[in-house]
Amino acid sequence: MNQTRYLCLSGPNLNLLGDRDISIYQHGSLDNIHTHLQQRAADLGEAIDCLQFNHEGDLIDAIQEATKTYAGIIINAGALAHYSYSLRSAIGSCMLPCVEVFISNVHGREEFRHESVLASVCWGVIGGLGKNSYLLALDALHHHTNMR
């Protein structure tokens, strides 16, 4: 059997992680998170590809393509989480378990960040734990894959 692979997608402005408001987003870059994820996936005997796009359409293309290659998706859509119905439709039709992650605790921030239009088409949501939100999402997908 082929090695299990997951896809981690990050949306707009997450390429600036570590440069942005570090009181909210903590220290550490997106590359640093990706390195941790890949290390953890390797420890599990699995693999994860990590991509970041500022363009909504690129995220949609990646999700539409994902079913061919991946067993699950971790997505931090950034601000798109709060209004991108086209991203929601892509997730809703991709048939893969999708975990939405947030680095910050969105409930402690502005009101417009409290609602995610993606959450209801995702398998689950993890927020508030910095890079560990991503690592727990990988743990959840690994659990899901191995429970089947």
Partner: protein, 149 residues
């Protein structure tokens, strides 16, 4: 001394396995607690369990966590959506609380989309069935668990 994590279940979670199985799964609360205890043993931490259908008992228990436990995994059940008293208890307890839900609350009625305790918790995990409690436990211990067992 081992770190202690408190696992707190709110109203109706004592009915797990008996109520709305399509939403909450077929495991009983005892099954879930046994799974958590087995993970805690592997992680070499102590866990204690508390369930109550009474808001005031939950408030008192959370208050008493102050200075006593390292963190709390809290599934406050429906109290999540309206108990300001529980929220104030979390703030007063000055302890890391991880909010956990078995179901994906965002797939359900709109009154479940709002968490009044969310802003004072360290994080929120929902939708992973009973495994969400394990994720919550690991989330509270993450900095100590480089190996992520």
């Amino acid at each position: 001394m081992k770190d202690t994590i408190a696992i707190v279940h709110g109203p109706n979670l004592n009915m797990l396995g008996l109520r709305e199985i399509s939403i909450y799964g077929g495991e009983s609360m005892q099954d879930v607690n046994d799974m958590i205890a087995a993970t805690a043993a592997k992680l070499d931490i102590k866990v204690e369990f508390f369930q109550s259908n009474f808001e005031g008992e939950l408030v008192t228990f959370i208050q008493q966590c102050r200075g006593r436990v390292k963190g709390v995994v809290l599934n406050a059940g429906a109290h999540t959506h309206y108990s300001i008293a529980l929220r104030d208890a979390i703030t007063a307890a000055q302890v890391d609380v991880m909010e956990v839900h078995i179901s994906n609350i965002f797939k359900r009625e709109s009154f479940r989309h709002v968490s009044v305790i969310g802003p004072v918790c360290v994080g929120q995990i929902c939708g992973f069935g009973s495994y969400g409690y394990i994720l919550g436990l690991k989330g509270l211990l993450a900095e100590r668990l480089p190996a992520w067992q």
